[in-house]
Each structure stands twice: as structure tokens, then as C-alpha cells.
């Protein structure tokens, strides 16, 4: 294959493969998407190598996609592509403790980055829901939501600047770093915020090669508490009261009784984690206690609060992604899970969740071995609500059933006003057509940057 030889000339023979078995290894991620076999896999080491590959791909009109483990839940990678395995680009390039930023290559995992930062007393704040085995570049491209986002905001809000190789092969720097004379310390400079263009872009506009993130001092300590509520409405009301006072929550979730029959109160448990100095934690916990009790909450024993905090910690480490404690009772054999994470206005949550539950019941999917549970937690000013679609890994037809169900579910959720963080192949057909000028502008941008439509084609439908 001519293009393979040319790419081999760029990256060397050790970093390219089109062996059939290797294509199989890169055909499937942690999601229900149909296998997407690449043409070849390439492991680039530098932005310049990627630039040369994209020039070549554009010349031959060969599609290109990025791979960093495929821990995404949505099917974010097109098939029949030159697949760039980004995991060889996994270095921390600079920890700038004067300007509180860290610059990394896009293929570093969140786990490795956070571990190395934490050893030096720093953190990036939120951790993406795809788990710490997912990469920073992947987290940016799919605009990951995150545990810990109540205090720091979502992953996208942590990004100061990017280096992106455009489909033309040109290397773009966004943020202050666009100026070769400037450090990448500030996102909003010069004119439009081009960083934002690439956050959540699903890899259709270019290849993200470097990411500069905000850095925060590692909190001295953490404190937890938990409150039981008689109704979902009162639990939501408590969270809203906390949000209104901008109390920085590392985590505040809503664990529903229906998924946790061991709870001793009628409706929900709200576990809360705060962090900071000992004094800050004491003050914040005191304010939170007051607000939760005012909203009708009853404080649970510290042991229960600590257990819940431990569960959240595990979620942060990526395991609840697979078999979180939200698995519907009686259905523990259903281990595969498609999280439909979306943001929604806090006070709208009870009604919207009720509507989705009704939809799930009406769809009658339980008889197909599909069940839905809900993970809910607070961002700074809204809620993340994730209907978790569980299915049976042993059922050979499960993935097809799930794909069909997810399309219908997202159609319904978007009609109700849910806003997903990202779409991917499994969800986008249900949503993109409803977005009017947004889809058109995105399509125009795509056409401008990628006239030959080589970047991750078909993953995000856009409209010229």
C-alpha cells in the first residue's frame, strides 16, 4: 500500500501496523458501537509527524482518526481510517507552578498526570467520567464531564490552550500561546476563543497534540457528610441552595433509594464531599449542614457518609464506570453500561428524571435485558444526570438492542431539554438535526478546516 510506505517513511517501521490482528485490537472500545476497523494504526511521537501524515492523508483523501484507548462510551472513532494511536505522546511537557498551568502531550492518561502532579502537591481538579485510564486529549475532544466538577467546573473549563494539527497539516496554537513570544498561561486572548472550538469537537477538526490545563494546589484535607431526604424534590432543593451560595463542592450526588434499597429513608441520600484547609472544610460543612437540614434533610451517620465518599473516590478511579453501585437491584448480571451523561438545570431535575423513567417503562426494554439506573451529581450551577443504560454482556444481540434504544432515548432526552456533553456515533443522529444554526455553523467550520472531510468522518453529522 503506497500510503503505508509513505507513512512508514515518516514514523519508521516500528510505529505502523496493518496486521489483521492489530486492526482487530483497535476496532472496538468500551461501548456498544459496531466494530470500526481501521486501515492501519500509526503511533506518532510528535506534532510534526502528525502534520506530515495529515498532509499525505489530505492529498490522498484518506480518512484519519485518533485513538487513545477508546474508553469512551459513545463510539467516537470512524472506521477505515489511518488511526493515530496517541498513547506514545504521553509526556508532561511543563509544570509551571508560577502561572499555575501544566502542559502535557495529549496521549497522557489522567491517572498518570494526576499522580505525578499530586506528588508535587498539585491537581488539575476534575477527573473525567471515562476513568483515569482515559487520556487528556480524549477528554478534551469529547468534552468530558467529571467527578469533582462541583468545585472546579467541567474539564473544558480547565483548558488554557491547545496545540492542534489541522487537517491541512498546519500546526495551530490557541490561547495566549498563539503568540510565539508568549507562554500559554491565559485562554482568552487575541480574538475569538479558538480553544473552545476544539473542546468537544470529536476529532473532526484536527488532531489535539498538546493541552495546557489549569493547576490547583492539592487540598490539605477532605470532609464528608450525608443527608437523607423524603423526596427527590427536597434533595434537589438542598443542592440548589448550596449552589446558590457558591459553596465549592468537590462532590454532591444524589443516590436514589430505588437503586439502594439498604437506605433507611424514603427517597434519596445526598453524599457531599468538600476539600480545602481544615478550617475551610469545617466552615463549609457547617454551612452545608444548615442548608440541607433547612431543606428537610436528616443527617446520616458519619460512617454512611464516609462509605459514600469512598464510593465516589472509587468512581474517580474509574471503576464505577463499569459496575457502579447504581446497577438496578435484581439486575446485577447486567454489567455493561452506556452512560448517557447530560447536564440539566438543577430545579428541573425531578420532572425530567420522572419523564425519562416513564419513557424507559413505556419502551419496555427490561424484557430485552436492558435496564436503566440514574447517576446524578452537582456541577457548579447545574446537575449532571446520567441515565445509565445497563445491558447483558453475555447476550450476543444486546449491543444492537442498546444502540437502537439509545437513539430513541436521546431523541426523547433532547426533546426534554437534557444537554449531553458529547454525542459520538451512537447518539448524534438523534440530536444534531435539531440544533438549527448551530449545526450549520459547525458544518461550515468543518468545511473550511477540512474540505476533504478526512477527519473522523461520520462521527458527528454536520450540515453544509
Amino acid at each position: 500500500m503506497e500510503i503505508k510506505n509513505a507513512i512508514e517513511g515518516i514514523v519508521g517501521s516500528e510505529d505502523i501496523s496493518d496486521d489483521e490482528f492489530e486492526l482487530v485490537c483497535y476496532s472496538k472500545g468500551a461501548n456498544a458501537d459496531v466494530p470500526q476497523y481501521p486501515l492501519m494504526i500509526v503511533r506518532p511521537r510528535t506534532a510534526e509527524e502528525i502534520s506530515s501524515i495529515l498532509v499525505l492523508a489530505n492529498h490522498t483523501k484518506t480518512p484519519v482518526a485518533c485513538w487513545s484507548g477508546a474508553t469512551n462510551a459513545v463510539g467516537a472513532i470512524a472506521g477505515r481510517t489511518i488511526l493515530l494511536d496517541m498513547t506514545a505522546m504521553d509526556k508532561i511537557l511543563e509544570i509551571d507552578d508560577e502561572n499555575l498551568t501544566v502542559t502535557v502531550q495529549a496521549g497522557i492518561t489522567w491517572g498518570e498526570l494526576l499522580t505525578k502532579l499530586e506528588r508535587q502537591g498539585w491537581t488539575t481538579g476534575p477527573c473525567p467520567q471515562d476513568g483515569l485510564a482515559s487520556t487528556v486529549g480524549g477528554g478534551v475532544a469529547l468534552s468530558n464531564n467529571a467527578v469533582w466538577s462541583g468545585k472546579y467546573g467541567l474539564v473544558g473549563e480547565q483548558i488554557v490552550g491547545l496545540q492542534v494539527v489541522l487537517p491541512s497539516g498546519e500546526i495551530l496554537r490557541t490561547g495566549a500561546g498563539a503568540n510565539p513570544n508568549s507562554r500559554n498561561f491565559y485562554r482568552y486572548g487575541w480574538a475569538s476563543d479558538l480553544t473552545g472550538l476544539f473542546i468537544g469537537s470529536h476529532g473532526i477538526l484536527g488532531v489535539i497534540t498538546e493541552v495546557t490545563l489549569k493547576m490547583y494546589p492539592l487540598p490539605e484535607t477532605r470532609g464528608s457528610c450525608g443527608f437523607g431526604f423524603d423526596s427527590l424534590d427536597s434533595a434537589i432543593s438542598a443542592l440548589n441552595r448550596i449552589q446558590k451560595r457558591r459553596i465549592p463542592l468537590e462532590y454532591a450526588g444524589i443516590a436514589l433509594k430505588e437503586h439502594n434499597p439498604q437506605f433507611e429513608f424514603p427517597a434519596t441520600l445526598v453524599p457531599i464531599i468538600v476539600s480545602g484547609t481544615t478550617e475551610e472544610v469545617d466552615v463549609e460543612l457547617k454551612r452545608i449542614r444548615h442548608l440541607c437540614i433547612e431543606a428537610g434533610g436528616k443527617e446520616v451517620a458519619q460512617k454512611i457518609a464516609d462509605e459514600q465518599a469512598e464510593g465516589v473516590e472509587m468512581a474517580r478511579y474509574g471503576t464505577s464506570y463499569i459496575f457502579g453501585n447504581e446497577i438496578p437491584p435484581g439486575n446485577r448480571k447486567l454489567v455493561n453500561m452506556h452512560p448517557c451523561c447530560s447536564c440539566l438545570p438543577t430545579l428541573d431535575a425531578p420532572k425530567l428524571i420522572k419523564d425519562v423513567k416513564q419513557f424507559v417503562n413505556d419502551a419496555g426494554v427490561k424484557k430485552s435485558n436492558i435496564d436503566v439506573a440514574f447517576a446524578i451529581w452537582a456541577c457548579e450551577n447545574c446537575l449532571i444526570c446520567s441515565p445509565l443504560v445497563y445491558y447483558d454482556a453475555m447476550d450476543p444481540e444486546a449491543e444492537e438492542k442498546v444502540r437502537n434504544f439509545i437513539l430513541r432515548l436521546f431523541d426523547r432526552m433532547s426533546n426534554l431539554g437534557f444537554t449531553p456533553h458529547y454525542l459520538g456515533r451512537l447518539r448524534s443522529p438523534a440530536v444534531m438535526g435539531k440544533l438549527g444554526a448551530y449545526s450549520k455553523v459547525l458544518g461550515d467550520i468543518k468545511k473550511t478546516l477540512d474540505p476533504n472531510n478526512i477527519m473522523n468522518p461520520g462521527v458527528l453529522p454536520y450540515y453544509y
Binding site: 501496523s17 490482528f21 485490537c25 468500551a30 459496575f323
Partner: protein
């Protein structure tokens, strides 16, 4: 296909990738797969091989020479992926099943392992050495041929590290512990063949050793090789059923003898010492504390842990078959491990497996770090003559 037995096990994997790239333990994040880290592509890690296995079962992929090579080269059977899998997918059994299928189809094992298998089949040791030389190390030790407690030397200690076998027996004798020995009737334990899929040869070894041990009255077997230990203790039971003898690693026995005061060390070692967990002793059999307790009890020793220890220990690079087959890759992995020991400040690496010693020692030599097998380290401390 043997692999068919694992269809359900394969379905359990949700491709989360934790085994592929990272494991997390509070503020520590660890790489998981040594071959993936050295070689890059997904086929080197567990997730990739699970997708390969699924494709093989569905008839979407066939074995060819390149795939056969990758399935041997791309896995040390170190078990790190299995031990961290949140869903408990038995990766090791799946990978071994593929190797058995490749052997049955005449495609495996890869060439250097075929020589090992022939050596074992014909000369009963992995090196193809004269079977009569197996017990040279023991000829002056007056070890009985029958008894209730046997010392099992294994190929590596018998032929390459006779000091270790001598040390093990002398330590036991000094503590008043009588052991018997099979001499040239001892054959390879069968571990390399179980690992490379040559089950027929493995079974020949297993059946022979079991028959001899039973005939000579064995109720207990002690070995200083982690690979032999796991094989005798677990694989023998899985393949041949319950056995009439218990199996111990020498570290378990020495630890108990030290606790009861039956062993005391005469000389001080004022050095920083770390312990490398052999995969077959640690992850496979859950023995982590006895070797550490022993080292920590040696006066003068400052014991330091490597960052990745116990369940998370990085393999030495030897695996069961890797060192013989892909020595350059094994050496790279060993270098990573030695660097980790140096970062911990260690001047000496003590381990409890001769294969680990043989892989780590060349890498450590360059870094001026010494590597000892546990019995040798202890025997020296006890002032026993083992050379």
C-alpha cells in the same frame, strides 16, 4: 479449541482499558502491562488479546505466523492484568488456552520454546543438560532419597544456581529440618510447557514427578523456585486432581523458622535492600509477607519498598517463557525494574525466584546493584558455606 471453554469469560470484559494503560491506587497510578509499555501496540496488552480471542472464536480471524509470534512475545503471563480487572476476567487462562490451541494446530510454540520443550521432553530439564548432572550440587550434602518432606530443586537452581539449592537445604538442615530429594529422578516441574501450551509434555513431567514423590512418601514439598512452587501447588492440582502432599515456598518455611528462633543470622548487612515480588509467588499465590519479614529481621538491613510492590509489582521481564524467547524485550523490562529499585535507594535486590535472578542480574550489574535469591542472601547472613 481450548479457547471455546472461555467464551463466557471473554464476554465479561467490557474493554474499559484499565488493564491496558493504568491502574489507580489512591494517589498512585501504575502502568499495568510490561509488554504494552515496551512495545506500544494494543495487541501487546490484555484488552487487545481479548479482542483477538473473540475474533478467533467467531472465525473472523485466523492464526498466522505473525499472530503466533505476537501472542507469545506480547505476554509475560505476569498476571498484573488479571489481578486488577474489576470484573475478574481470567486473562491468564484465556491466553494460555490460545497457546494450547496454537500448539495443537502445529503453529506454536515459537522456535526457541520448541527447543525448550524438546529439552524437557528428552532430558527432563529446560537447558537440555545431562539429566545425571541435575544433582551435582547435592552430592556432598547426604540428602536422603526418601522422607516426608522433599526439597524440589527445579531446573534453574539445579543447573544454573546450585548455590541457591545448596543454601536452601543447608538453611533447613541447620534449623533441624530434614529434607529428602529426588536426585536425577526429579524432572522439570512442567511450568514452561504449561505456559507455552505444550500440555502433553507438561503432563508427562507432572505424572512422573507425582508418581515418584508419592512412591517416596512425600507429604510436604519445599521449593525455592517461585515457578516450580506455583506449578506444584496449583497447576498439579488443576491438571491431575488433588495431591497427597502440601507445597511450600522456602520463604514460608524460613519465615516460620526465624519466628521460632531456629534460625539466627551471625553477620550484619548494613545495606539498603529491596524485595522484588516474583509473579508466581506474589500475584499467583498471594505470598507477599514472608520474604519481607525475613529481610526486615536481618539486623543492619534497611528495607526499602519499590513504588510498585506486592500485587502491583512490575514483572522482572522473564515471565515463564519470555526470557528464553525474546531476551532483548526481557532485558528492557528488567532494566525498568532495576531503575525502580535504584529510585527506591536500594543497593541490593532480593527476590525469591531463580528466573527473576537470572533476568534482573545482568540489568542490575550495569547499575551496580546486587541481586540475590533469598536463600543465598540468608545463608550468607548465617555464615553457611554454600560455594
Amino acid at each position: 479449541m481450548t479457547l471455546e471453554k472461555y467464551e463466557k469469560e471473554l464476554s465479561k470484559c467490557v474493554l474499559c482499558g484499565i488493564c491496558s494503560r493504568a491502574y489507580f491506587d489512591r494517589i498512585k497510578s501504575f502502568k499495568v502491562c510490561p509488554t504494552r509499555e515496551e512495545c506500544g501496540f494494543e495487541s501487546y496488552d490484555a484488552k487487545g488479546k481479548i479482542l483477538i480471542a473473540r475474533a478467533l472464536l467467531k472465525g473472523q480471524l485466523d492464526y498466522d505466523d505473525k499472530l503466533v509470534k505476537r501472542l507469545y512475545e506480547g505476554c509475560l503471563l505476569c498476571g498484573n492484568c488479571k489481578s486488577i480487572c474489576p470484573l475478574g476476567v481470567d486473562t491468564i487462562s484465556i491466553f494460555k488456552a490460545m497457546r494450547q490451541d496454537m500448539v495443537r494446530m502445529g503453529l506454536g510454540p515459537v522456535e526457541p520454546l520448541k527447543i525448550v520443550d524438546t529439552n524437557v521432553d528428552e532430558k527432563f530439564n529446560v537447558f537440555g543438560e545431562d539429566p545425571a548432572k541435575r544433582f551435582v550440587w547435592a552430592k556432598d550434602l547426604n540428602i536422603p532419597k526418601e522422607g516426608e518432606t522433599f526439597y524440589f530443586g527445579g531446573c534453574y537452581d539445579s543447573y544454573r544456581f546450585p548455590q541457591t539449592a545448596t543454601a536452601a537445604v543447608k538453611i533447613l538442615n541447620k534449623a533441624g529440618f530434614e529434607v529428602a530429594y529426588l536426585y536425577d529422578d526429579e524432572w522439570c516441574c512442567g511450568a514452561p510447557q504449561i505456559a507455552d501450551g505444550s500440555i502433553t509434555v507438561a503432563e508427562k513431567m507432572l505424572k512422573h514427578n507425582v508418581a515418584l514423590l508419592k512412591a517416596r512418601g512425600a507429604k510436604r514439598i519445599i521449593t525455592s523456585c517461585a515457578g516450580c512452587f506455583h506449578t506444584l501447588k496449583t497447576d498439579y492440582k488443576e491438571i491431575l486432581g488433588e495431591q497427597p502432599f502440601e507445597v511450600f515456598h522456602i520463604s514460608e518455611i524460613i519465615s516460620k523458622l526465624m519466628e521460632s528462633g531456629k534460625i539466627s543470622l551471625n553477620s550484619d548487612v548494613t545495606r539498603k535492600v529491596t524485595y522484588h515480588d516474583p509473579c508466581h509467588l506474589g500475584r499467583y499465590e498471594g505470598i507477599y509477607d514472608p520474604p519481607r519479614k525475613i529481610i526486615e529481621k536481618i539486623s543492619g538491613v534497611e528495607f526499602v519498598e519499590m513504588l510498585r510492590n506486592r500485587e502491583r509489582a512490575w514483572c522482572c521481564g522473564g515471565g515463564t517463557t519470555e526470557y528464553a524467547t525474546f531476551p532483548e524485550l526481557a532485558a528492557k523490562i528488567a532494566t525498568t525494574r532495576v531503575e525502580e529499585a535504584k529510585t527506591a535507594g536500594a543497593e541490593i535486590i532480593v527476590t525469591a525466584c531463580p528466573l527473576c535472578v537470572s533476568v534482573l542480574r545482568p540489568a542490575a550489574y550495569k547499575e551496580k546493584v546486587e541481586v540475590y535469591d533469598l536463600p543465598v542472601f540468608i545463608a550468607k547472613g548465617m555464615g553457611l558455606e554454600i560455594d
